[in-house]
Symmetry: C2
Subunit: 219 residues, 2 copies
């Protein structure tokens, strides 16, 4: 994939604008676990995911964390370039969930083009609105859903993303996605095991009854 393939508005940009965006782009492949962006310390630039998976998360002062949303093939990560937007006042960490190939777009040329191009500004607006919707969904889950419902939904989502019912994931990692301590995750997974929904072994959670989980998650 080339940079232009990420932008449906590419043909609405002038050749000079296109060149400015492409000129500031670097292609990279990062390992699973790599931290690509960390809070407001650095202004990494826009990340265009060609192949792989990133997660955007926030961290508490006490070291707890929660996944805001995941970025898959063809997704654009805006908040790694939050220096571009004066009104963004929160700190997001971006981490690779598996080996990921991506384009890094320098923030200055992007901002420069966006300032004069209504199509690019409106496209950026849509990307932000999409992420905003993800976060609102998460907020509603946390506010109104019980933890067992959220955990059931998480296991099903993870299974769909990985294409397997045998999830290689620790209770600690599930807690980091969901914003809960490990102990709480372990307790609920054991309850799920008693109910025949999953089978637990060291470092894996195997889904035994997907329909039961769906019913619980009300999907």
């Amino acid at each position: 994939m080339e940079v232009k393939d990420f932008f449906p508005v590419w043909n609405d940009l002038s050749p000079a604008e296109q060149q400015l965006l492409e000129g500031g782009a670097v292609r990279r492949t990062v390992e699973k676990g790599a931290v690509l962006h960390s809070g407001s310390l650095d202004c990494t630039g826009l990340l265009l995911v060609e192949r792989g998976q990133l997660r955007a998360c926030i961290l508490s002062d006490e070291g707890r964390e929660i996944t805001l949303y995941r970025l898959l093939d063809r997704d654009i990560c805006l908040f790694s370039a939050s220096c571009m937007l004066r009104s963004i006042q929160f700190e997001v960490t971006i981490q690779a969930q598996r080996e990921t190939t991506l384009w890094v777009l320098a923030p200055e040329p992007y901002q420069c083009v966006m300032e004069h191009s209504a199509p690019l500004a409106n496209f950026t607006n849509e990307v932000m609105a999409g992420r905003f919707s993800d976060v609102m969904w998460l907020l509603e889950q946390i506010l109104w859903k019980r933890f067992d419902q959220r955990l059931a939904a998480f296991l099903l989502e993870e299974s769909a993303l990985e294409g397997t019912s045998v999830l290689k994931i620790t209770h600690e990692a599930i807690g980091s996605h969901m914003g809960n301590p490990r102990e709480v995750v372990t307790r609920m997974l054991r309850y799920f095991q008693c109910e025949g929904l999953v089978r637990l072994s060291r470092g894996t959670v195997e889904i035994q009854n997907a329909d039961g989980l769906k019913q619980l998650a009300r999907i």
Copy 2:
């Protein structure tokens, strides 16, 4: 205040664009408690608050609610025009917290100008980023803060907004702002009263020790 006073980019718009925006604007005064926008049912348009106070909230299926943010004098409410942005997939309710005078801007002319004007698109982007930051702040509060800290911060904020230490507000209303059931609010307020932080009487919460509340909220 006129429509143009809400837009720092007004002078970057053409006279035709300015006319389009002003032509679709209606000035209204609404009573305290009035619901101005309700979910995705209607596309009310942009709300420009001249004087007063609105709150944006979300509702659960079970009738619980939580305030996302408040809009004060000179603020712009974007999500009452969420039909403009395809990627917004959540439902916000907008309610007047006191008598409020505002401009309602029809969504079609706004969208039409934004499509071709980079300054207006970028300004809209900044407004959305500001609200996004408000919601991220709320999410962090809910995730990492204890309820007593959040309640202390709420009472101080309400006191600052109303300009008084005697808050005329019911426990039910506090619960609706904070996303908690009334009983939980009542229990914590009684604890605050025991600690000498507040004095309770029918329909009012009087702040007795603002410094104590600040310390608790870690402001």
